[in-house]
Symmetry: D2
Subunit: 111 residues, 4 copies
């Protein structure tokens, strides 16, 4: 029998918090004065939220494809953390942090 969600609680929480941070950051970037400079951040936020949502679903239901998807999740989280980390807005710094925590949790899962 595959593991229950509570066995992956820290990973699933990290993915969900990354989704929320990315959704929020993408929207908050739209309201910044320098929105044109934030475009790469907005685009990565969107991809990152989507791949984290998919990864969480696959892990929660014990999909055979979780191991593959999580690799792409790690890659997109890394890019999003790097891009958000360049900007001083609170939402960007918080998003970069959420991406890094998600990344670490994904790596721990994939051994």
């Amino acid at each position: 029998m595959k593991n229950a969600p509570q066995d992956y609680r820290s990973l699933l929480d990290a993915l969900a918090r990354c989704v929320a941070a990315c959704e929020y950051c993408a929207d908050a970037c739209l309201h910044e004065d320098n929105v044109q400079m934030m475009v790469p951040c907005i685009r990565l936020d969107r991809d990152c939220a989507d791949i984290c949502r998919l990864t969480a679903a696959f892990i929660a239901r014990g999909s055979d494809h979780a191991k593959h998807i999580i690799k792409e999740c790690i890659e997109i989280c890394q890019k999003c953390a790097d891009e958000c980390g360049k900007h001083q807005h609170d939402h960007c710094q918080q998003c970069a942090q959420a991406c890094r925590e998600c990344l670490d949790a994904c790596r721990a899962y994939n051994g």
Copy 2:
């Protein structure tokens, strides 16, 4: 300025845990001996996971439509909690509990 994810931390966590519990329960039901009896549970689990994911996205990004969507979320969580609550499998009982906690968090948000 709309609120940051940490201001909705308990609601977003409740939604994410409901998603995970529903994804897990839907899959675990497929492996039960009485799978035919679990069909309504599986179908509600799937709808509930989907609406909770959408609701979490709308809330995290401060969508104007969050207030409407959360009403449908409450309704589906209620139905899913009622159906899962009928079954004694651990995954069903845990899912019913996650749905109820999500429901309460959604109601608190909507005032």
Copy 3:
């Protein structure tokens, strides 16, 4: 027995084309010179893509909740069509058109 996807082919196609038009428009708006003026359009595009994706899933699998969700879908499509329709960019005009076609297909479904 519920209907097969081919029975809803025109509705499902309209929903999928609305998703694609909204995803494209949201991204294309980010690259316009007047991006600040496009913010309401980007935000509606995102909500519209998400609700159309959910609606398509519920209809394809014959969910009991399709009838409710499609009402919210109609409302968001209408708002997105109105907002996109204000802008002369090709992607906005095409998105407004896709939203209106989706809206009509949803209304036909809901009787």
Copy 4:
């Protein structure tokens, strides 16, 4: 400038039809007498619907990550086509066909 949805119309349509066929097949399998035998089909249908939805979003918005995600999409579509193809139910045969058409469209895109 990236391409508009109409430039990928056949790929986006193939992805959307695969999503619909998988959603429908997963649900229809639950109502078959031999539901226990259909479990691998249901599980693959769900993963396939999810990855096709994500792939369609990434392609429609011109994401830099579309090329990677589409590889995983091809792999899951292939597995789903193989599994559905084993079963004689109409919904399984139609889903296998939709997966194969999606697969071909994805391969054509990725060159």
